[in-house]
Symmetry: C2
Subunit: 340 residues, 2 copies
């Protein structure tokens, strides 16, 4: 795994030398008439890490071992808890705390779980029936769906028990009382924004750093104040606008896979980066061989946004399920048509 992110960390450490700081300062000062935020060590100071690289919490793909290795290497390892029970999170975190004393991040979803809708379920099953038949699967068998659990009192007690250095949320923030309990543990609170408005919303509610998540990002878009996928913003355009809008450090996410992307993120005004996909090929990733092969063979223009798997827009490698459903799912025809 070191080989995978070693170069990234090396380029980043080097980027932080004094002479580079002065050069950067001169460029930005000349261009804007005021001193730059870049390069800054605010994120390093805030989180107590060596390198401003957060390993993205990818539910279902990150092992405790990955968190340990990343944190030991000086980045911020993140344990995704959305697909764990509180007890599983407690167990994983116990393992992590035994193996590293460096800062770690716990990540939680804070969505409103969908209500069970048997009629809609039945329509989905009908729709998918031809595929069940084609693949020889019993369409009426019970569905062992992977449940995503939102942050709640039980998860909050895990945070209070283990006191991780950072807690990051996806899809906004939990209720105010839960958020205050998290902050009372001393954890730094992070959350993702897909727009300037979301970034301001998060800062106003006490986030210590904002993850500016561009349209390129793999996995779920955090979007919580808008559900319009049509107007989502790319990392290149989003990061400087969020950096201008908030005072807290900004972490760039989306489309960053090597030292070039990290350098670019800093140039855009970020104080750090969150990288996900690049970690999926580490031996510590818990993805299956079929997924590794897909990652290794996919070209740059073979991913798309879809909500067909969870109901929320997420980017993944285009596959058959998305190919037959992406249109009707991501862009539901709910807008007023000219004939209405």
């Amino acid at each position: 795994m070191r080989a995978v992110y070693g170069a990234v960390l090396r380029s980043c450490r080097n980027f932080y030398s004094a002479v580079e700081g002065r050069i950067a300062q001169r460029i930005i000062t000349l261009a804007y008439g005021h001193p730059p935020m870049w390069p800054d060590a605010r994120l390093l100071d805030l989180l107590g890490i060596e390198h401003p690289i957060i390993q993205a919490p990818m539910a279902g793909a990150v092992s405790p071992e990955m968190v340990i290795q990343v944190s030991e290497a000086g980045g911020l390892g993140s344990l995704p808890c959305a697909m764990l029970t509180p007890d599983q999170a407690r167990n994983d975190l116990g393992v992590i705390r035994q193996r590293t004393s460096r800062p770690v991040n716990l990540n939680f979803f804070c969505h409103t779980p969908p209500r069970s809708d048997p009629a809609m379920e039945a329509r989905w099953r009908d729709r998918l029936r031809p595929y069940y038949a084609e693949l020889g699967i019993d369409a009426d068998a019970p569905n062992p769906a992977a449940i995503r659990n939102p942050f709640d009192d039980a998860f909050c007690r895990v945070v209070e028990e283990f006191k991780p250095e950072a807690v990051s949320f996806h899809f906004g923030l939990p209720t105010s009382d839960l958020l205050q309990r998290v902050k009372a543990t001393g954890a730094r609170v992070l959350s993702s924004a897909n727009s300037v408005r979301e970034a301001r919303w998060l800062e106003e509610r006490g986030c210590d750093a904002i993850i500016a998540q561009g349209f390129e990002a793999g996995g779920h878009q955090a979007m919580f104040l808008s559900h319009d996928v049509d107007t989502q913003v790319g990392t290149m355009a989003l990061v400087p606008q969020i950096a201008d809008a908030v005072k807290v450090p900004v972490i760039a996410a989306g489309g960053i896979a090597d030292g070039r992307g990290i350098a670019a993120a800093f140039a855009l005004g970020a104080s750090g980066v969150q990288i996900g996909t690049a970690y999926l090929l580490c031996p510590e990733a818990t993805i299956r061989p079929v997924h590794r092969e897909a990652l290794l063979s996919a070209h740059e223009n073979e991913t798309a946004m879809t909500n067909v798997f969870t109901g929320r827009p997420a980017r993944g490698i285009m596959n058959r399920a998305m190919r037959v459903s992406v249109n009707v799912s991501v862009r539901p025809r709910t807008r007023k048509s000219p004939s209405s």
Copy 2:
């Protein structure tokens, strides 16, 4: 106008100092184990310009005066010819050549013009009839549509007559014989790619530089080997992958609006940038007051891709026409549905 891009040019000039070159070289060499392509002066040498900034050719929005001012300031001014007749292009270029001896770029579309389809036209008119009625416009009046003319023999004769230093194409390249005539004039040939495959295709056919156009770019996406908008790639992810795939200089486009974006583009492996939207607020832009106001008041999450205006996917500020039509136009439901 100087105020608008002065900062951009200053930051860029500064970026090219020797010490910054050495710093950059060290970062990239450490990260990748080989010397960087960045910063390089290849685009400056190729085009004979001072600053690696190309003013994007925006059909209908760029005056000859803008081209003159940009080229005189040391960038590459670009005259968009897609909405001009060859005689209009000849006139505009005559004005430009009188006022500047610096390099200029002529830009042409090379699409296949759509065939007139009266039945489809009638369906569009029927669909739009409620809006004509609402706005008090005669739905059956002749439609003075703005025609986009593809590059042809008549345009090629303008190129042969004026010998511009650069000719850029959108939507691929013209036929081989026209392309050879352009190259025979000594013009450097540029074209845009939205994927690695398109970049390689353009390089194989003799392009001297590739514009890597990310999903964020305003106006028409150049896409010509694929028409799948779902899988379009953001600038942050596209530029380094195209830079790795071709030997010619890469020009980053899409989401770049100030010195931060330029610095980021160079970090990603580009040798220059093409900037469009930032020039629309210059006095030399020929857009109307209503468009200026929209640009000044739009937030970052208020643009979307649509093909409702020309049939080709293009990014613009979300407006009512897009709001009622974007879904059915950009993502036509042509994919096989599970029920078929």
